[in-house]
Symmetry: C2
Subunit: 460 residues, 2 copies
Amino acid sequence: MQTLYMQEFQKIVGAENVLTGQEDLFCYSYDATPGYSHLPEAVIIPENVQQVSAILRLANQHEIPVYPRGSGTNLSAGCVPLKGGIVLLMNRFDHIIDVDLENLVVVTEPGVIVADLNNIAAKHGLIYPPDPGTVATATLGGTIAENAGGLRGLKYGVSKHYVMGLEVVLANGDILHTGGRNVKDVSGYDLTKLFTGSEGTLGVITQATLKLVPAPECKKSIMAVFKNLDNAGKTVAGIIAAKITPATLEIMDNATIRTVEDYAHVGLPLDAEAVLLIEVDGMPEVVAKEANEVLRVLKTNHADDIQVAQNDAERDKLWAARRAALPALAKLRPTTYVEDATVPRSKVPEFLREVSRIAKEFNVTIGTFGHAGDGNMHPTIVCDSRDLKEMESVKKAMNEIFLSAIKLGGTLSGEHGIGLGKLPWMEQQHGSKVMDAMKSIKRALDPNLILNPGKLVGEC
Amino acid sequence: MQTLYMQEFQKIVGAENVLTGQEDLFCYSYDATPGYSHLPEAVIIPENVQQVSAILRLANQHEIPVYPRGSGTNLSAGCVPLKGGIVLLMNRFDHIIDVDLENLVVVTEPGVIVADLNNIAAKHGLIYPPDPGTVATATLGGTIAENAGGLRGLKYGVSKHYVMGLEVVLANGDILHTGGRNVKDVSGYDLTKLFTGSEGTLGVITQATLKLVPAPECKKSIMAVFKNLDNAGKTVAGIIAAKITPATLEIMDNATIRTVEDYAHVGLPLDAEAVLLIEVDGMPEVVAKEANEVLRVLKTNHADDIQVAQNDAERDKLWAARRAALPALAKLRPTTYVEDATVPRSKVPEFLREVSRIAKEFNVTIGTFGHAGDGNMHPTIVCDSRDLKEMESVKKAMNEIFLSAIKLGGTLSGEHGIGLGKLPWMEQQHGSKVMDAMKSIKRALDPNLILNPGKLVGEC
């Protein structure tokens, strides 16, 4: 980048908010996805929408790539500044602007950490349901741009269900306001939903109006162990058929169970093919009724062991096993790929079996856990990225996993986004016509292709 | 249109499915919106996606306008073939393709009537929540293209919350498949949500994958009469503050109350400023608890009369008053404009007062009823379109109503769409930058501007 441009950027945000030291550039060259990194030319830290607009106008004029970034917890290399240019760090946008209890909405800047919003909502007996695993570190802007999900997707949906309006800066510097505080709004194309999940490729989010919902009065957690995977699958189907929508309905496969047991010693049988963790929430009367119904379905489908948490301490104990899944797997080997290939709920057992077969075939270690209720699985491959021969097998296994999800009517990503990581399979999932349509939208809103270039729709 | 093209279209769908008689053209020249009509040159009735693709390819090549249409119940002139060309009648797409109980989705063609889907869902203890007033006649395709709402928006949301995937034909004939049966899916831009509510301006819907949800076990309806509008407003706020989300929370203003009473003699006091109709639904235990809480809020806020339906017959009686609102108003004068200017929930009393003031100022008759829980109001202007002087006043009043909704942070349309009817105010609501963004998306997907041209984004 020419020195001239750098001076212009410094004029916009102040010299202290343009980082160009090697250690700074290195820190923003990667995100939470293994295997991807590239140095940017500068890290720019704006603090208001006018600055973002001025930065983008200048970048657009000189075709400088811009990579918006929050906390960098992305799992599909969405933050990696693949073509150099600017990392646009949004962490100074850290104010909650309005908590509107009458309309149950909050207006917030994108740099606010999800957990901080949760804490404020909790004071009013409300919740913001999207709860990715990175809730304590991820920014709201990042979770909106990636349409993040979490453990409550089955009952509560994902980020897009809670984003009511956005302030977005386009590549040309135009500041748009979409949506608002209206529960019903069909005035024009739903730009709010288009920007949500667009992974920073269409615009930079500078403000969001988010929906809050009443917190459930109580919760009940049940854990069940299955020696037979099919019985776990039938239980999931049986719970849905019984018209129950649990807040959480998680599954861990045998590889994960063995790893978790070895790591946390929570008493899981090593030969179990699946563990389900089910949590119902709502009014006490509802929770009692639904928990009983879940127990009935579990017994009908031959659960081999059932534990019901009678209090918070017991609930924490059951959840400890599920929470241990990722750290336990990650501890096995130096490199961890957490994927999120997702299938329709009814296909979960078939998909888990496919993943086991793939792990054997390519001799790689894969533990799968995830959200059985909504089909959002996390096949987690642990390996050593320095072992190039092993990485060849990992690549092949990953390819088979994604193809198998697509074949089962699934999708490449339930909640982590496409970024760079899943780009190679996009056309296989969507076909060339859908990709053409997506690319034409990208070009319409960002004709010079400066926003997070190379991601989601790839080159276009 | 040249005879040559007509022959080509006949080749695609058969001569019997290309209507050109004057009586046919007249029947498809208008929809349910008063004041708009234009004759098409032909009405074409395809029966499968390949035919739609071939029709659009030909129309695109020769820049012939195409107006997709279901039952024509549109209230914003969205179906009117403003520039002649083709009305593309989708009623032969009337098959439900799959009812998938494990994944709680239905795959359907767009010509299926909403009520027919409801009947099938009911057999399985499920519901499809979007319920526009035209549920017995409107097609699913039309309700998806318009993102239709209904009386249950507060608790259950609107069409876009239930559209999981679409088959759509673009202007160039490309057949796209978007989304699918996955509850969580963040693979690429959310084209499903972009086409939902795009009013036939971006593509023609030929198939939809829709989410179903368990039917509530029971319901309880409560009607309350208020001599003071503010107390009604405080009641709505109080119910939300009490963390209750009723399925229905309807309001009628004084003008509507007087008209309904005159029409249906249901015993409403003529001096009441507002009537609220509240329905909670769910498990019996929840319904009992929430109904009690609603009663408490009503008493706290000085409701002047409260009626609780003890059985289905009494529920029907309470609902009769609300159902009578539109027919009672429509009976007053030859012409009825049902608008749907919508405001944030907290602004409903202020908006109702504004509408009363506007009615007085311009000496027009306006009854307002609607969905107080989600702020979606229906200011209904009754008049005589043959009286040009009166129509001048109606136009002025309508302009003031929309400007007042926008001023209160509201939107031009909660559920009827923009079409032609609300186009004049689009830029005032959104600003020129948002309109530019919407137009650029329109041009990206429909470069020759053949799909429902002149609507939603106007000329572009």
